[in-house]
Amino acid sequence: MKEPAIVLKDLSKSFGSVHAVQNLSLTIAPGTIFGFLGANGAGKTTTIRMLCGLTRPTGGTAAIARHDVWRDRQMVRTQFGYVAQRFSLYRDLSVLENLRFFGGACRVPRVELERRIGRLLRLSDLEAKRDTEAGSLSGGMRQLLALACALVHDPPLLFLDEPTSGLDPVHRQQIWNLLYDLTSEGKTIFVTTHYMDEAERCTEVGFIDLGRLLAKAAPRQLKASFKTRLLEIEAEPLMPALVRLRGVPEVLGVALRSGRLRLYAADPERLLEIWRKSWPFPDLKLLGERWVEPDMEDVFTAYSQGYVALLKGANS
């Protein structure tokens, strides 16, 4: 078995009494696209910053290629590229100048750097913009440039903090295509996101909430962790039905999906049986029902809302 790219052991970070990250343990194999999922403030960015050696862990350890990310941060930094959540390249420098600066700062030899920049410009489709100031690029192009700058020293590992937030679908697709190209070269990618369709594209996904890791598995495994399929019903009028169903004690949550109401309940079959016998809401009309496979959004809802009763291995 290949050596893991990243190993986290009980990694923790507290700011005073606020525990941003608590006892996070993870192992990420090389060549993985690891999607780090969680709500805003769940501890995603703090984790990435610790891995980049930008903030000191208050407990536990993290290692990249067996080097401690804090103690050996100067050495570890040659091993990864980092794209921050906020656009943080030099706006008054052109595309080419930004690439040259980060290449020089990472001590890439001049000839090699020019060759690499040529390739990165082609890859990120920025050749026509090479002399444009970074500040006047569109949001999507900025992210592509940030990605190119993070790759200029050809690191085996890439940290991306919400690289596609606020981007249009075309640019999101372009960035993901680029990430696939990179993993096919053997690079490991650690990406945070809160787009569930993007989570589907990762080879592995970890859920973090309130600083704790809730689950880590391949998307398919996570979806398979539900005990049953999910019940979707059609009811009229729709919105009052949503509100009323939320009030049912057995129903943990209700989500509106394409005009149908998806129910999160520990035992939906029994619930449906009862409703078939006697529908408890005379003012609502039950039009039909169907069974669906859970998707990543359901996984995220179940984990972040703590609907453990829905999941296998939970004794409800």
Partner: protein
């Protein structure tokens, strides 16, 4: 700082240079302001003598004798006299009259002089600025002295013959002493260290130092703070750049820019004010150490501040006492001893002193060595301090 890479430093320096070059408005100010300020300050401090001070002259006696006094004092360039109409009696209201002084020759003054019981001449002075008041009083006294000597000569000329005869009976040395007492004794003054007695020669290191201190500290203070504000600092820190490389790379372009500025300013003073430079090599070393110290200080402020606004505010808080207490425009000896200890903390104080010791006193290196050491130590301490603060940002 072992293992610093020239390539990495050059990358940071070039990037920093591009920031300066791209910010055209600041660049323009940077090129225009120093020579402009030098001309402005240079002319402002070129001549410190008071001239054409508006003043009132009121003659309530109106005799040939008072006219002789008025003729003398009218020639003094210190004052620009105006003579109010007879019957004017608001001589003490300087503000309403728009003057700094008013001199009143009282009625019966000539008679009182003749009687050998001179009435005092009232002089109202604007005492709000103590220096001006003292200078004006001195000028009036000087003119009174001239008038007094003239009157004495007149009396001596018109002495009756028998008095002259009486005088001739006195012993020769008594007579000589008496005659010598009739005119003022004088000290023979030789101005050393500033033979042309020009204030500009004294003040010009102050002007250079002040302009450069202002520009270097404020510009430098923005560099790290700007990166922190725009988020680029973290991007910079996750590259494998060492802190020393960042510090040196950031200082270099500003050092080059400020050396150019210092040359421009010195050229202006040389050509326009004809200030002579003695031992350019020694002066160059003093300038270099001063620049390094100021840049380091700016960098320290920068690493300490969270935003550019804060950086500018800290710079102003630092620069304000420097302007007043550094001895750039007035000798430090005017300040009380305790305050002078504070002055010794400012790089500008040491720069001005060392520069003057070389350029005016033509002093040998050991005399100003202490100042050089302080500047050098200041540069080292601020650089290390900035690198240390950068380390703290990571945590």
């Amino acid at each position: 700082m072992k293992g610093m890479s020239m390539r990495a430093i050059a990358s940071v320096a070039y990037k920093e240079f591009l920031h300066i070059y791209r910010d055209r408005r600041v660049l323009l100010l940077l090129l225009i302001l120093p020579p402009l300020f030098t001309l402005l300050f240079g002319h402002a401090f070129e001549n410190t003598q008071l001239t054409d001070v508006p003043a009132l002259l009121i003659d309530r006696d109106n005799t040939p004798r008072t006219q002789r006094f008025i003729d003398i004092i009218s020639k003094d360039k210190t004052f620009r006299w105006s003579r109010p109409a007879p019957g004017f009696n608001r001589e003490s209201d300087l503000l309403a009259n728009g003057v700094k002084a008013s001199l009143v020759i009282p009625a019966g003054w000539s008679d009182s002089l003749s009687k050998g019981d001179p009435k005092p001449v009232p002089l109202y002075l604007d005492g709000s600025d103590t220096n001006t008041a003292a200078t004006l009083e001195g000028a009036v006294q000087l003119n009174l002295g001239k008038f007094q000597a003239g009157e004495r000569d007149l009396i001596v000329e018109n002495l009756p013959d028998d008095v002259i005869e009486l005088g001739k009976k006195l012993p020769i040395d008594i007579r000589k002493q008496f005659v010598s007492l009739m005119s003022a004794w004088s000290a023979e003054a030789k101005n050393l260290y500033n033979p042309k007695s020009r204030f500009i020669d004294y003040v010009f290191p102050g002007i250079i130092g002040l302009i450069l201190q202002l520009l270097t500290v404020t510009l430098m203070a923005c560099t790290i703070a700007r990166e922190r504000e725009s988020g680029t600092l973290y991007q910079l820190l996750v590259t494998s750049l060492k802190r020393g490389e960042i510090v040196v790379g950031k200082i270099l372009p500003y050092l080059v820019v400020s050396i150019v500025l210092i040359l421009v300013v010195i050229l202006v003073t040389l050509l326009h004010f004809q200030v002579a430079l003695y031992q350019p090599a020694a002066l160059g070393l003093i300038c270099l150490l001063f620049l390094l110290c100021s840049l380091g200080l700016g960098l320290l402020i920068s690493a300490f501040s969270r935003t550019q606004t804060q950086a500018i505010q800290f710079s102003v808080f630092f620069l304000l006492p420097v302007f007043v207490l550094s001895g750039a425009f007035a000798p430090l000896e005017q300040l009380p001893q305790t305050i002078r200890y504070i002055s010794e903390l400012f790089p500008l104080t040491h720069f001005c002193r060392a520069f003057r010791l070389v350029n005016m006193y033509h002093a040998a290196p050991p005399v100003y060595l202490a100042d050089l050491i302080v500047l050098f130590a200041g540069a080292i301490i601020t650089f290390l301090g900035a690198a240390f603060l950068l380390k703290r940002i990571e945590q």
